[in-house]
Symmetry: C2
Subunit: 147 residues, 2 copies
């Protein structure tokens, strides 16, 4: 079993997608993360779901989640709304990170190692610079427990 | 909206659960992670799905996922089987990590900050030392996009 066999079509966003829409896509399609592509469908960034959430959480709350308690319940409930108009580009962290990207020949063990190392439940499969699909943790585990 | 309102019952494992069974539970119930509890149902560790995978991937592959390519396809396919008999206790990393655990009064923003910070799509809700349920990234986002 290789990455090409486990990969499925996966919705993508661009740098210009509003963060709110990205979060909505994640919620509505029950995705484990998002793939940010450029105009040529080449992956720029892969964001695990928790890191999409990070785009929407103020920095001081990330440093110390207990500080989020100073925000009252009504405002806390609407934290996603506070980002109206902000795009993925504006919200991405500056520091570059290792991307969970591999080629179509990667084995199940390579995929598992990449997910474990990058803490991403989603690996983009790229052939000749182009996104051909993605392997999710769920698809990988479903295969591995039956192998 | 508070953690108690978003929390749902969540299956747990113990330190003595075989890693293979833990992976199977994750796959079959489509869980975002696992909660490891002690004999009094108090959470000892919360493992995001990618870190459950980590329990099953040899260390040298995690350090450099490209090295996983030296393992042939047949053995790669069965990487979970190679851990037959190993328990969660034996497979857990030594270094302690910040646990995504909160109390029933936590707001949506606190939950989001905790998930973003600990990179866990799962937060355990604990009242007086006892696990009362868990909030998933999916449940949090479903609420937040409709708020």
């Amino acid at each position: 079993m290789r990455a090409r066999d486990l990969a499925t079509q996966f919705p993508t966003v661009t740098m210009d997608t509003p963060v709110y829409n990205a979060a909505r896509l994640l919620a509505e399609q029950d995705l484990p993360g998002l793939i940010v592509v450029d105009g040529r469908e080449s992956p720029l960034t892969i964001l695990p779901g928790t890191q999409v959430l990070r785009l929407a959480v103020p920095g001081y709350c990330q440093d110390d989640p207990a500080l989020a308690r100073v925000v009252d319940e009504e405002h806390a409930d609407r934290f996603l709304r506070s980002l109206a108009g902000k795009t993925v580009r504006e919200a991405l962290p500056r520091e570059p990170r290792e991307l969970p990207v591999t080629d179509p020949d990667a084995t199940v063990l390579q995929l598992a190692a990449l997910m474990a190392r990058t803490r991403s439940p989603l690996v983009a499969v790229v052939d000749d610079g182009r996104l051909v699909g993605a392997v999710t943790l769920q698809a990988l585990l479903d295969w591995a427990v039956s192998a």
